[in-house]
Every structure is written in C-alpha cells, then in structure tokens.
C-alpha cells in the first residue's frame, strides 16, 4: 500500500532515470539538503524513482504536501508516526533503563517493543483530528484504522508474547568474548541464559571463583547486556517485521513528503518564493516560470540569490544561452532542470508561479572532467554521452546542454554542434543549450529553416552592466542576440592572473 505518493495505493513503475542527469543536476546535493535528518536521509536515486509524467500522481502528491505545509502541527504528528514506524524495522536505539545497576535485558526492551504495538492506536487518534484535504492523508488515517482493527495486527501481539517469553527473568547470562590480535576482548555474544532453578541445581556442585565486583564492572556488564539485548531485540523484531509490511511501506513515503515540505520551508525562510506548478498537457510543451531560482545556490550558502523568469515557446523551443564567463548561465540551466524535476516528483518548486508540461525525460550533457576522462579521450566520452541522450530522445524530452563538444578543434565544434542541435530540434525536443559558440545562436534561423517542422530555436544571453569600463554581472538572463564576447580576459583579471 502506498497511499501518500500514488492514488489508490498502486505504485507505478517509473522509467529508469539517467545517472548522468543525477550527476549533472547535482541531485545528490539537493536530496541531502531536503533530508529531514541524517537518519532519514533521502537519496537522489530514491527520488528519481518517484519521477513521473502522470498528472494524476503529481497532483495527488502536491495535495498531500500542501496539507503538510498548511496545517499547523501536522508535520510533527507525521514525524512522530514516522518514528514509531521506524521501530518496526528494528532500527530504534531507544534503550531506556531507569536503574543503571539493573540489567536492561528482556522486560524493558521487550516490553518496549510490545508497547509499540499500541502506538498504532495512538497515531490514528492523533492524525484523525486534522482536517486534511488531500486524499492521500485521508487514506493514511483510514489505513491506520483498518490496521489496528485487523486480525493480523491482533495476532502480532500474541506472537510477540510467545516468542519472547523465554527471555524474561533470567538468573545467569553467559557472555562469550573473543580476543583480537592485540589480545583484547573485542567481540562478544550472548551465549545462554539460565533460569534460577537450573542455576541453583548446577551451582551446588561447582567450585568457581567469584570475581570481585566493583562498580565499573557492574556498569559495564549492564551496558554489554543492554547491547546484547538490543541485538536480541532486533532479531526478535525481524520475526515481527514480516507481519508488518503495510506499515513499513509507509515509512519512506512519509520521509519523502516531510523532506519535500522541509525543502519548501527552507526557501520560505530565506525569503524566496515557493509554488506548486500548474500542470499543462504534455502536448503543449509548456515551461513558463516567474522568479525561478536555483535551490543549489542556497545549499552552497550564497546569500544573494537572483531570480529569473524563464519561458520556452509553446510547442517546443531549444534556447541557445550565451554570454560572459561566470555570468550565471549554468545556474540558469540548473534552475530550469531542477524546476522540471521537482515538478514531476509532485514537490514544490523554486519559483513564484509556473506552468509546466511534464516531460518524458530530462537529458543533460555537461562537459566531462579532464581529470576523470582525459585518458579515455574527452571528446569520445562526451560523444558517447550525447549518443546515449539521443538514443533516449523523444518529442517530449527536456535537453540541457552545458558547453558541449569543446574538446576538439573550434571548427569541428561548430559543425558537430549544429548537427546535434538540428537533430534535437527535428525530434521536437525542448531545452537550453549553453555555449560560447556564438554562431549557433546567431544562425538559429538557419537551423529553424532547415528543420521547419521541429522545435523553435531561441537566443538568450546573460545581462551585463557597464561599471567604469568593466562588465558587472547581474546574473539575469534576457532574450536577445548573442553579444559575441565571453570576457575571458576579465575572468583572468578577476582571478588575479595577468601575463
């Protein structure tokens, strides 16, 4: 059952997400930033598995996350439920022993597990008091209600009691220690537990030396037994866990929804806009966003984040983005890609308002690192990546090219780039092509004329202001013809390099 992320609880298999896109869009960093804690970390891979082009699923998730953002206290209640569910996976380390001299074995630990069973009731009571609007959260509350009344749930309590009864009230517990190479007791295990009656019967005939007890020994033994009991609890929990697949299935769903809410709150806290994009039909190939920004800038600790409007022509457009080095071209590219990705996760986006058509896939081509791929041949590596992208290209693909095909002679860069761009346009794909090959943007009408049935070709450029003869970056982009200068000499000067 997956009630928060998929309508009717039916998980839909997603197409494999390109690993190159994960790397180029730095999705790992975004995933890490949205994780609600180290323990509940979400990975880019997990999130990409949620990527969907189904508007019903996207709207379903948007409604759930909107509830979490809007209903005060709901995220805390869901977090508590998450913590409770977590115990079913045997991962809780919440050992609680009131008396440090008492061995926390069996009753405390196992009664804690037993007590967990009651948390299903408690969670249902807490969540049912919120006036949720999303169908997903309605389903969750109903699921808890069904579960707490189910025969299966009732039987778990009985099974638990039966499996753990032998661990109560032991009189002697034997711990085995293995010595490591340094002759230290380094690994230990619980070997056996004897009840009082057996111990008495055995003990009479033995002449063992009673080791002298001191407080440290008692405390450490108590600690070791607690750890061993935790290990035993985990093992017993694994029996129980098989009976709780439904509950455990909710765990990651809750983590994803709470992570999405956390991400949106972090933008709000920085004074930046947040929106749920309005979905447009896929056939419109719409992408229009107001005050779009790159959320990775916040993660990098940038205090000043510039927002840009981004509009691709309906019906598909490949925009060539040119301009000065370090002027914000890559940032604009990333903000567009991340906005599309977050939209299709059903998550809030970093913009004030947006109209977005889902895409089949997001394909990225960023310059490979000379250090990693130098020996294989940078051009060969890049050509392989582009060929891979072309093989996945559809009419509804989003393409994000970042200074591609530069690791060969300048003339060859131009001619190969023109061919690849024309093919992408002919296929009807849309996206951004960041480049210093100004001719690509300058001759875009020739490209359009060559493949008139395909996507449009557009030109955008970074906006510079003149500051006493030197360019000043605004980090804004605008529609317009390429200016024909990348200001590399200025980049050198700013970097302190003068020949």
């Amino acid at each position: 059952m997956a009630c928060l992320l998929y309508p009717n609880g039916k998980i839909q298999a997603s197409a494999s997400f390109p690993s190159q896109t994960v790397e180029d869009l730095q999705l790992d960093r975004l995933a890490e930033a949205m994780s609600i804690s180290e323990y509940y970390r979400v990975s880019a891979g997990e999130l990409c598995a949620l990527f969907t082009e189904d508007p019903a699923i996207i709207c379903w998730r948007q409604a759930v996350i909107r509830d979490i953002l809007q209903l005060s206290g709901l995220d805390e209640a869901l977090s508590r439920l998450l913590d409770s569910l977590d115990g079913w996976e045997g991962r809780s380390s919440g050992r609680r022993v009131a008396d440090s001299f008492a061995v926390g074995f069996s009753l405390e630990d196992f009664s804690w597990l037993e007590g967990y069973l009651r948390k299903v009731d408690a969670s249902w009571a807490e969540l049912s008091r919120f006036s949720v609007e999303s169908e997903g959260l309605h389903t969750l509350v109903g699921l808890l209600d069904d579960l707490r009344n189910s025969p299966r749930y009732q039987s778990i309590a009985a099974d638990f009691e039966a499996l753990c009864s032998g661990h109560s009230a032991p009189a002697t517990m034997r711990i085995g220690y293995n010595l490591d190479k340094e002759l230290k007791p380094s690994r230990l295990k619980l070997l056996r537990m004897d009840p009082p009656a057996e111990k008495t019967a055995k003990g009479k005939g033995t002449q063992k030396r009673q080791m002298m007890l001191n407080q440290r020994a008692i405390e450490m033994d108590a600690l070791l037994l607690q750890r061993l009991s935790a290990q035993a609890s985990q093992d017993i929990g694994s029996f129980v866990i098989r009976e709780t697949a439904v509950l455990r299935g909710l765990r990651r769903e809750l983590v994803f929804c709470l992570s999405a809410a956390k991400l949106a709150r972090s933008w709000q806290a920085a004074g930046l806009p947040v929106a749920f994009p309005a979905l447009r039909p896929a056939s419109e190939k719409a992408f229009s966003a107001r005050d779009l920004f790159d959320p990775l800038l916040l993660i990098s600790g940038k205090e000043h984040v510039v927002c840009n409007d981004a509009d691709l022509q309906p019906g598909g457009e490949l925009v060539f983005l040119t301009g000065a080095n370090q002027g914000g071209k890559t940032v604009f590219l990333l903000s567009l890609g991340l906005c599309q990705w977050l939209t299709q996760l059903g998550f809030p986006i970093p913009a004030r308002e947006a109209y977005v058509s889902p895409v089949k896939n997001i394909l990225t081509i960023f310059a490979p690192n000379g250090q990693e791929y130098g020996r294989k041949g940078l051009l060969a590596e890049e050509a392989g990546r582009i060929a891979e992208a072309i093989s996945n290209l559809t009419e509804e693909s989003m393409l994000l090219f970042n200074e591609p095909l530069t690791s060969t002679g300048p003339e060859e860069t131009k001619s190969i780039s023109a061919e690849v761009a024309a093919v992408c346009m002919a296929a009807g794909a849309r996206g951004i092509w960041v480049t210093h090959v100004y001719e690509l943007a300058g001759e875009r009408s020739a490209l359009e004329a060559a493949v008139p049935w395909g996507s449009h070709a557009g030109s955008m450029r970074v906006v510079l202001e003149d500051e006493e003869g030197s360019p000043r970056f605004t980090y804004h982009v605008e529609r317009g013809e390429p200016l024909g200068n990348s200001h590399a000499d200025d980049a050198l000067r700013r970097g302190g390099v003068v020949f």
């Binding site: 009189a171 041949g377 060929a387 061919e419 090959v437």
Partner: protein, 586 residues
C-alpha cells in the same frame, strides 16, 4: 642499523618532489597502488611521497638494489614474506612494551592479591562505602599484563626466528652487490650469531606443544530477581574463538550451540577499555600458573635483533614494491631502465611507455620524448589519439625517477625537479562552487605562484570553457610567459592555430630552439582514421579528426536520424533541409 640506512645515501631524508597539485591528474595514486598495494590508495601515495628525492646518489643507490632484487627473485620473495610477517611482529612487539608488568609477576603476587582483596571486602562490609578501586585494579591489571606479555612474546619469538632463518638461508647463497643489500646481509649475520636462532626455534616448538594459550573465554553474569548484577564468574577459557552466528541469524538455520546472538563489537570508549582490562585480568588470574611457566621459558630466549628488524620495514616495503612493479613490467613485455641523472635536459626518454598502463593493460606504443630546461612542447593531434596518455606518461616517469625506481623505457635521463604541476580541463563543479572557467583561472594563478625554474608544468586542454578565440589567446600568453621565466612546460590542446603566434613569441625572446611541436600521428584511410599513437616532431595538423571519434560513438548525422526514425520520431531523414546542415550552416 635502521631503515634510512637502506633508503638514503646519507642515512637520512634529503630533498623531494612536490606532487600535491599533480597527483590526481597524473593518476599517481593508481600508480602507487601498483607499487605498494598493501598500503591502500592513500597510504601508498603518501608513502611514496615521503620517499621522493632530488638527490642523485640516493636515486642511484636505490636503482642498484632494485636491479639486484630483479636478478635474485628468491631473495625478493624472502623479503616480501619478511615484510608480511612484520605486521604481526610489530603488534606483538608493541604488546610487550605496553605490558611491562607481565615480565615481573610471581606466584607471591597471587597470595598478596588474595590478602588485599579480603581486606577490601572487609572494608566494604564495615564501611558500606565504595572500596579502593584503584588499588584493586592495580592488582588485577598485573594478570592482564602477564597474559598479554606472555602471548605477545611467544608470537614475536616465533615470527622473528622463522623469518630470520629464511632470510639468512637466502643471503648465504651468494654475496650481495648493491650497497643496501650488502648492509642488510651484514646485519642479518650479526643478529643470527647473537640470538642463536636455531636453538630458539626448537625451544618454541616444544612450548607450543605444551599449551595452546587463550583465544576466547566466557563469563557468567549472575543476577538476583530484580536483575541486579550480584556476581561474575569465569565460566570457560578456550584456545579458539566463538562463532559469528547466533540462533536468530539465518532464520533458524544456525546451530543453537553458537549462542543466542551473533557477535557484536565491544563498545569503544574509556570505561570499555578498563573493563576489557578487568576481564582479561580475571582470565589471566585463572591461568596464572601456566602463564608464568611459559613466560619464564620465553624470557630466556634472546631476541636482540627484533627492534632493528622492525625499523627496516619501510625500506623492505619500498624495495619489494619497486622490484615487484618492475617484474610486472617485464612480464608484460616492456623494457625497463634505470634513468640516469643529468643537468643538461629536463628529461629525455627513449621508447618510453605509460607506466601504469604498461603494468595492467595492453602494452602501449613506445614514444620518445625530450625537453630541455625551460623548454616548451605543444602537443597536438587527433581526438582520442593518445595525447593525454603521453602527457601523463611524462609526469609518471618523472615521479618514478625521483622515487629511485626503474622506468618502462629503453633509455632515460632526467634532471630532478622541485615541483610537478598540472592543469587538466575542469569539468563542472560537483558542488557548484565555481564555474569551469573560474576553476581554471584559480588553478593557473596557483601554479604560477608556486612554480620555479626547476618545476615542470603539464597542461591538458585548458581554456575550453570560453570562446575559442579567447581560449587560444590565453594559452599563447601562458606558454610565452612560462618560457620567459625559464619554466619547462607541455601543453596538450586542439587550439592548433596558436603555433605561428607561439613561434613568433619565442623567436622574439630568442628561445626558438626551446619550442617544439609534437603531433600524435594518425592516418586517414578510406575506412576512417587509423591511430598510430606515435609522436613526431611536426607543425600542428589542420584538423583534429573529431568526426571520426563522434562517428564511432554513433553521432554521425545519418546514424542519429535513422535511429530516431526507427523509434517513430518524425525527423524526416530525406528532407532537403538536412543537406543544408551537412554542408554547414555556420
């Protein structure tokens, strides 16, 4: 005698080579893993770094010893085995130093301990207050030290005698010729005479048969009905360890005799360490009779050479690693040579190969490479023709040379450098901290601040993250500036058109003879481009043959269109518009 005597001509470290800004680009960590695999990637690199030198005598001394080990594989094998045994010897030796009390415990101690403990118990009963824990621990720790001292000494003696016997046997076969191995041989003979190695081995065999020692033990924790701990008892002492699995693990398939839980790690903190000591003391007390008997026999065995032997570890690691690396090269069919030291050239290599690939992959095509001090090589050629490999080769050969190793080449000479500096084309930052251009500019600034006339700079396709015209101009300015400052450099690039400008600049500086254009050759055939992977001195070619590379990857226009058509996309391969694209619209 210590390891430095075998590694450095003057018995102490001298000079070096700064590789901190080059090791990643030149993949020196992978190369070092081939030299010293037992150290792991980072360990191998930092170990090699510590041995880099610009001292000619040291380099020649190491080269001679490596050549001798190559000629005597049996001796190299014994040194490798000795090196492996040193890990265990080192741990055992440290164990002895850490447990000095174990050497002095007597039977009287046990009687005294009983009295002290009785007093402590009495005090507890009377005052109802905590006993003098420190006093109690001091008594208990004695038996932990006794146990460890005895077992470590046994382990150390066994390793030492076994390995020294093997070493002596091998060294006696024929006299050594290189200075380091002569010194090792003299030292081993002296030790053997002092420590009566053969008799010691016999005594150890007898002791081992009498008692196997302690590998694991069990403690019973006794509790009252409130689960308060009321007592501990040593329940079992055994020579072998307990099994990993417990009764829950493996869903009931484990043997219940293995215990309830699987093995877990002992908690690592301060009080945990004390408790480990406490437990070991109790176990030591239980077997104190056997331990003191064994200990008394062991301390009579002479082990005077252990400390010096352990100090040779780095030297053995270096020589066995370097010799092993050369053997791999030879097995792959590569020539090897000991490069000589010269001041007349930055380097000159004849029929040299990329070291790391020569060891692990298909043997690369050999190439000649030479550069005078303050000279510059512009390296151009088709995409994927091997330019980067040649650049890395130049860096790796210099690294190996200054490590004192032999190199995969028919002949070689070089002058030791102070810094190896690189700039390889930056990819997009994975943390978004800076743009590609920004990162390269920062790197150039850093390199220029560090370089000296004794440095060498290796560039791989820099400045591709701006317009071609601007990138080419920056490369020209950069190389001219380096020549002016007499710094040796190699630049790999596709900005082939910078050659005339460079020639003019060098001529204006009066340095024309120091500028070289090397081209990685390829043949254009009717079936495409045939790569020869051979460098030749010639002006840069007009084309980089990029079409051949992208076509091989499926990026030919026809291939792209037919592929998309086959998947049902409306790309109209027969449309006349594609002819315009083919003819070139830019």
């Amino acid at each position: 005698m210590n390891g430095n005597d075998l590694l450095w001509a003057e018995g102490k470290p001298l000079g070096g080579l700064d590789i901190s800004l080059a090791y990643e680009d030149l993949e020196l960590n992978r190369l070092c893993m081939l030299l010293f695999p037992s150290l792991g990637t980072e360990g191998a690199l930092s170990f090699a770094e510590s041995l880099l030198t610009d001292d000619g005598e040291t380099i020649r001394m190491r080269q001679a010893a490596i050549r001798e080990l190559l000629a005597r594989p049996a001796l190299a094998a014994v040194l490798e085995k000795l090196l492996q045994a040193m890990n265990e010897m080192d741990a055992a030796y440290r164990g002895l130093l850490d447990n000095p009390v174990g050497q002095r415990v007597t039977r009287m101690d046990a009687a005294m301990d009983s009295v002290k403990k009785a007093v402590i118990r009495l005090e507890r009963n009377i005052s109802q207050q905590a006993a003098d824990i420190r006093e109690e621990n001091a008594a208990d720790n004695r038996y932990a030290q006794l146990l460890r001292y005895t077992l470590f000494r046994k382990r150390l003696a066994a390793c030492y005698t076994e390995e020294m016997s093997l070493l002596l046997d091998e060294l006696k076969r024929e006299p050594c010729s290189s200075l380091p191995l002569q010194a090792l041989s003299r030292w081993a003979e002296e030790c053997a005479a002092r420590d009566h190695i053969e008799q010691t081995s016999e005594v150890l065999r007898r002791l081992d048969a009498e008692w196997k020692g302690v590998g694991a033990f069990a403690i019973d924790v006794c509790m009252d009905s409130r689960r308060i701990i009321v007592g501990l008892e040593v329940a079992e002492i055994r020579p072998g360890p307990y099994a990993q699995r417990g009764m829950f693990e493996g869903a009931g398939t484990a043997d219940p005799k293995d215990g309830i839980t699987s093995l877990i790690s002992f908690p690592q903190n301060g009080s945990g360490t004390l408790f480990q000591e406490y437990l070991l003391s109790q176990v030591g007390y239980e077997v104190r009779g056997q331990l003191t008997k064994l200990r008394d026999a062991l301390v009579k065995l002479p082990l005077s050479g252990v400390e010096e032997l352990l100090s040779l570890r780095d030297a053995l690691l270096y020589y066995t690693g370097a010799a092993g690396f050369c053997r791999k090269l030879q097995e792959k069919g590569s020539a090897i040579c000991a490069p000589s030291i010269t001041e007349a050239l930055t380097f000159r290599y004849t029929a040299a190969r990329l070291p790391e690939q020569s060891c692990t992959g298909v043997l690369p095509v050999p190439n000649d490479l030479a550069l005078e001090p303050g000279g510059c090589i512009l390296m151009t050629g088709p995409n994927s023709s091997g330019k980067t490999c040649c650049l890395i080769m130049a860096g790796q050969l210099l690294f190996l040379g200054q490590l004192g190793c032999l190199i995969p080449a028919e002949a070689g000479e070089f002058s030791p450098r102070d810094r190896l500096l690189t700039l390889f084309a930056a990819g997009e930052s994975k943390t978004g901290e800076d743009s590609r251009m920004g990162m390269e500019v920062q790197r150039i600034r850093l390199l220029r601040s560090l370089m000296t006339p004794r440095s060498i700079l290796l560039f791989n396709e820099p400045m591709t993250s701006t317009s071609a015209a601007e990138g080419a101009q920056i490369c020209t300015d950069l190389l001219t500036d380096l020549a002016r400052q007499e710094v040796s450099s190699i630049l790999v690039t596709h900005f082939n058109h910078i050659w005339p400008g460079l020639e003019a600049n060098f001529a204006a500086l009066g340095l024309s003879e120091r500028l070289h254009s090397l081209v990685m050759t390829a043949l254009e055939t009717t079936e495409g481009v045939q790569y020869l992977y051979k460098l030749e001195e010639a002006p840069p070619p007009p084309s980089s043959h990029a079409r051949a590379v992208v076509a091989a990857k499926g990026l030919r226009l026809e291939d792209m269109l037919s592929g998309l058509s086959a998947r049902g996309l409306d790309v109209r391969p027969a449309d006349p518009g594609w002819d315009r694209i083919r003819r070139g619209i830019l």
